[in-house]
Symmetry: none
Subunit: 218 residues, 4 copies
DNA sequence: AATGAATGAGGTTTCATTCAT
DNA sequence: AATGAATGAAACCTCATTCAT
């Protein structure tokens, strides 16, 4: 990103740049098409049209429809995971406004989960787990697993600070997510219908409330 | 039509019986195939072979691949819902062994959810919600919605008995399910890998524990 | 057709009667369907539904779709031919009002040709002549050939009466039909669009006029 | 694009040439197959085999069986019309050998009409007018209508030259065609059986004779 | 590197026909 | 005699992939 004048550079890199741009366009177009019609019903023709390239170009870059799908899923999952980890930076570390701070973080996390692309990736993962079991593992390792670890760490810090009473921080992290998010997918038809902000906030607040009732040090 | 040994009756009933048998075979075969390869990639040929009938027979009975899919989903979802409601009958009503009873019920429920067919239907629903939004509604109405209501009623009874402290039984019902089940799909790769009974039981026990810490009357 | 009480007759004839009724219903239903969608695209299912019988009943009566088609075509063609021959009975034999009488007969004939069923049969014959060459011969022999002979006889009588000057009455008969009818099929899109009576009458009158200019004894 | 030996030019033009060749081969093969088995019973497989291309190539070029049929009909009708109009160039303009010249032109015209492809198109048009009413209009407008106008013009010139006595040249044009052609389709089983040249010539000569008896200035 | 054209394989669906009742 | 159910064959059309340019 921090290049000099690309025109001054030797031929290959700028060509390489165009090549990467095209690759990126293909992958993003593919996510759009896959998420709208599903893996099997997405035609490479449609993806090529959406990306504005010729069909063989896709094969030149990605090799096959299956491989294209793998790249779409892993790259998008990694991007989603990054956003969720960012949200964790606002996690509270002290007693001040514990409930308010937790709710704020939970809302940020839920917003990440409810992001359209994120839900699309999750639907595709659910749909194709039988045919692409390795994809499930890749996404899980690069996404939720890392995230749960990070969240567990934050919760453990609060426990160390004497604010929470936790036996198993990892389990608690799972339960935190379950409490603030689990009801939402069914409310939004797995992310295909938009929800009112107030009903989302109520679910989050109730989840945090239950979490604190269970784990706040008395 | 008026009972009696059907085998002894004249042609029509037994023919009707045979017809229904064939229809049932088709629907069950279709679930197997759909759940293994997905809706779009399931060929009617494969379903016919799995059901042991000729392809046009499927069209005679169900009309189209899409209609077949709808029937598979709604009929299977209704069946799953029935099992879950049965499990609720063992819900505790008194203080005796509250934790133990809740854990027992939760294990039964989780077993229903973890049933292979049940997970397959859920995966297909997740996968096809964009293409079949009405199916989502039908399944939701005939399944989870009814079940959550029933569970909320049971929890409200415990609250009335002075055993739990609940503001919103429906929300609590959602949270109960979230706590005892939510972690499992990711552990089992959305139901495609089997879990050890002890790890499942640990999740359930921890979920019930958190639930009781939050809601047991002190 | 001139029976006593059919109920008094022995079982077979009345059964036979019902059987013939059903056969007739099938053939007439078949013409309707064939003429609307063509031979190949007419499904035996649709014909059975139109006739109000079960599909195998058609096979019991007519043996096969092809045979059914043959019967439809020959029976309808014979019926049409009968009507055309009837129209010839009004053919003039003397000098009185020769033009007026010829026009009247020509109008009747053209009405026969323009009849909806008649046009439908002609379209089907045209369409299937490659696949059913024998049908063409059967229809030709039982219809147009007979009719042309009859018309030629009528014209010859007029010639004998010194009213027309004809070398070849059969050729003249063909030309008469050509002059009064030939333009109409293209005007009516081969019988699929209705024509105004006045434009039809004009064609007929002009045809008769040309015929008389060519053949009236001077 | 600017002439020159196309074989020597760079890729695009010759590729385009190849593409058009393939399209032409498809359309011509399609007419052969359609005319032999009819529209509905013609399989795209058979057309592909006859054209020596793969089935999807047909869909790439023409889009659908129905569209292919439309193109076959309109292109062939236009071609036939061109030949008929060419024949008109030999139409007499002066009194010299009027009968002989008219017979010569009529024979040329009848040869156009009796051409195998031309009869095939007419049969298909007749057969499918119910399902493709727009095709009838398109063919009529690009073919017979133009031709009748041209023929009427030629006849009007003869009238102006004082050779014919015509009130309505368009009607006379229709009648000319009717007299010299109308009998032939039934003689040749709608163009599916070949006729002897002498019987054809006799019909034509008799038709011209009747036409001249009716319209030659006395 | 990128593309237009072509294809083999396989998809859903329809249909004429037969069998058991 | 009449029917509901079942089927084998074949139809139209789509698609992932490759080749020549």
């Amino acid at each position: 990103m921090i290049a000099g004048d690309p025109a001054k550079r030797s031929g290959t890199p700028s060509a390489e740049r165009g090549r990467l741009d095209k690759r990126r366009a293909i992958v993003e177009a593919a996510l759009r098409v896959f998420s709208q019609v599903g893996y099997a019903q997405a035609s490479v023709d449609a993806i090529a049209a959406e990306a504005g390239v010729a069909k063989p170009t896709i094969y030149n870059h990605l090799g096959s429809k299956e491989n294209l799908f793998r790249h779409v899923m892993t790259e998008m999952a990694a991007r989603d995971n990054g956003k969720a980890l960012e949200a964790l930076e606002f996690f509270p570390t002290g007693p001040a406004d514990l409930r308010t701070s937790l709710e704020a973080v939970a809302r940020k996390l839920v917003d990440c989960y409810r992001d359209e692309q994120s839900e699309a990736v999750r639907r595709l993962l659910y749909a194709e787990v039988v045919r692409f079991p390795d994809l499930f593992d890749a996404v899980q390792a690069s996404g939720p697993d890392q995230f749960i670890e990070a969240l567990a760490g934050r919760l453990a810090r609060l426990a160390n600070a004497g604010l929470l009473s936790l036996k198993d921080p990892v389990r608690a992290a799972h339960q935190f997510i379950a409490l603030v998010y689990d009801e939402l997918p069914r409310m939004s038809a797995y992310g295909t219908r938009s929800l009112g902000q107030t009903e989302v906030d109520k679910v989050v607040a109730d989840g945090v409330d239950t979490f604190l009732r269970a784990f706040r040090m008395r």
